[in-house]
Every structure is written in C-alpha cells, then in structure tokens.
Symmetry: C2
DNA sequence: TTTTACTTGTGATAATTGTCACAAAAACTT
DNA sequence: AAGTTTTTGTGACAATTATCACAAGTAAAA
C-alpha cells in the first residue's frame, strides 16, 4: 500500500491520541465540528446520516483504515453525519492542526497524506460506480465476490442502506 | 475555493500542455495508461465506462475543474474507462512526473494538489450519497435544485446513466 | 434460563422502474 | 432546404423493488 519510513511514522504517532470506544459510542455527532482524522486499530466505525428518522449508512471503516468527515474538517463547518463505534473499537486520532504542522516539517508525511487521500478517492469512485453500473441484486453479488469481509462483519439491516436497498429486499436477495 | 499564489500558479502553468479537442475526440481510451491531470479551460469532458456495449457516464468535468483517472495515474495501470470531449474543449494537461517534481520544489503547490484532492473527494462522497439517500426521481430533483448547470449542458440520454436511471424513466420524470 | 430486545424472514400488495418498440422531434449534414 | 442521424417521448407490459405488518429467529441481559 502506501509506504512511509519508520521515522516519519514515529513522528505521526507522536501526535496521535489513542482512544477506546464501546459499541454504540459516538466519535462524531451531527452539529459538531470534526477536528481529527481517525485511524482504526481494532473494531470498526460506522458513518451514517439521519434521513427523516432513518439512519443511512454511508461508510464502514475497518482495522487499518482511516476516516474523517473531510468537509467538516476542511472548513470547520458542522458535520451533518455521525460516526459511531460498531464494536469495541480502538482508534488513533490525529488532530488536524498538528497534522498540518507536521506537513510543513516533513515532506514525506505530507506526501503520505496525499497518497492516503488518493486511495480514499479511488475507493469512493469505485463505490459510486456500483450504483451506476449494477442493479441492487448485482451490487450485493459484487460485494460478495469483491468485499466479502464487509458481509461477514456488517449485519443485513446495516448493509441495506449502504447498498441503497430496502432491508427486506436484501434479505430476499441473500436467500438465493 | 482553493487559493494559490500567482507565482505558484505561474510555475504550474509552465509545465502545462494546452490542447484542443473536437466534440467526440478521446483524451483517454481503455487500455491506455493515464499520465496526466487535465484542467478544463473551455467545454467539458465526459468520463464513461463500457458495460456490455452500453456507455455508462461516471463523470462530467466542466470549465474550471480538474479530472484524471487517478487509479491509472497512480499505479501506471491501464485505464478501464474513456475520457472524451463533450463539446469543442480546451484543456491544460499536467504531466504526473513533472507535477511530482514541482511538489518537491514548492510546498505551496503540493498543498494545492492536496486541497484539490480533498475537494474531489468531498464531491464524490456527496455524489455517492445521492444514490443511498434518494430514489431516482429524487436524485433528478436534487440535481435540478443543486446542480442546475449539469441539466443545462448534458443531454437527457447522457444524464440517465450518470444518475443510474433508464433513459425512458428520466424522460418521464422530467415531464412532471 | 427466562425475559427482553433486536435482527431477520416472509407474505401480500402497491409503486416504481426497466425494457422493447416505434413515433416524433431536434440537431447535424450536404 | 432536403435528407440523415441522433435524441427524446410514449405506450404497453414485465420485472424489480418498496412498503407494511407480523412471525420467527437470534442475541443480549437479567
């Protein structure tokens, strides 16, 4: 994946804040300003928005991956979504301002940050294309073959909104 | 938007390659390796993939915006999509290697590059969420109020695949 | 282990969307 | 301007999906 030297990694984790959450605890709530980038060490985070009382999952972040609310982070605007622990979850939080300082000191770290963004963007593009190319049924089958991990860890009812499918429909798709 | 000093902008455009395309000409074809980032000066670019003989539009890039195939660009792998001029289009192309050199010389330009990525990622996330939150009909209405420009410039048949809707359905939605 | 809460399965039905075929309209060509 | 190509509209119908209501199953808690 994205490589980085041991010394830069050390500098990065010097500014990191290790935190632990129980299942259901919130890392970010709507209205708050997101000030950190989170790295999941263990467990997973669920990102969702509330639409008329229904929760719609927009992302799941598993071990070894980063997440944040980029829009809120960039403009210091209030978030419109929630980030919640899906299990007992350990994360490292990187404060935005400290991160920007590090970028000024270390070109390697800035470059690492950029590569991370690139990865996230590519993944997001692929995810969007799922909806354009495939039907609900095909989307499920795509996950089955390309991202089986997510099927193992995320419950059917949580997955359905992530795939833009009604829970009942997903249940029926799965039966076959 | 994303700010940059005049001197950095100058350096950027020193490495730029201005090119003009007629409607329908290809900037990138499947199998090719994407080696540049493109800035649209005039006209627009259509990004699409071929699914069993049908073209599915994944993106439209208008004046003042950047596009590329990030996956191909990053890993020097062959592209699975096409980028085509939707009208007479003038672009500035930035060679990846030259850009990386500039990043090493100018922190401001690297930071500019990062901010650009951030913008693209935020936009992409919002686009994905359209599919999770809204029905086809609602997606169209969302564009109507939030991105009317795209409706003015993109034909119905091109737009339908971008919204994940059948052409006929989109035609009927629009009637109301 | 018994109760309670949450998740999943399922039937019935409505609503929406997709598909096919073709006509109408609009946009380009020559 | 006439002809050609491309885009859009529409009807008819099939297929898929959403919604509602509730039963069954599973997991968590007491």
């Amino acid at each position: 994946m994205t490589e980085i030297s041991v010394s830069s990694l050390g500098k990065l984790f010097e500014i990191a804040n290790k935190r632990q959450f129980k299942k259901g605890e919130f890392i970010l709530k709507p209205g708050q300003v997101c000030k950190t980038i989170m790295f999941v060490e263990e467990g997973y985070l669920r990102t969702f928005i509330d639409k008329d009382g229904t929760e719609i999952n927009t992302d799941f972040t598993f071990e070894g991956n980063f997440t944040t609310n980029l829009k809120s982070l960039r403009s210091a605007s209030s978030a419109d979504n929630s980030i919640q622990a899906g299990e007992i979850t350990i994360i490292y939080e990187f404060d935005k301002d400290k991160l920007l300082e590090l970028y000024n000191v270390s070109a390697e770290i800035e470059s690492f940050g950029r590569k991370l963004l690139e990865q996230l963007l590519i993944a997001q593009e692929e995810h969007t294309n799922l909806f354009k190319i495939y039907s609900p049924t095909e989307r499920y089958h795509y996950l089955q073959t390309n991202k089986p991990k997510i099927l193992q860890r995320i419950s059917l009812s949580q997955l359905s909104s992530y795939l833009g499918i009604a829970r009942e429909t997903l249940s029926r798709i799965r039966k076959k």
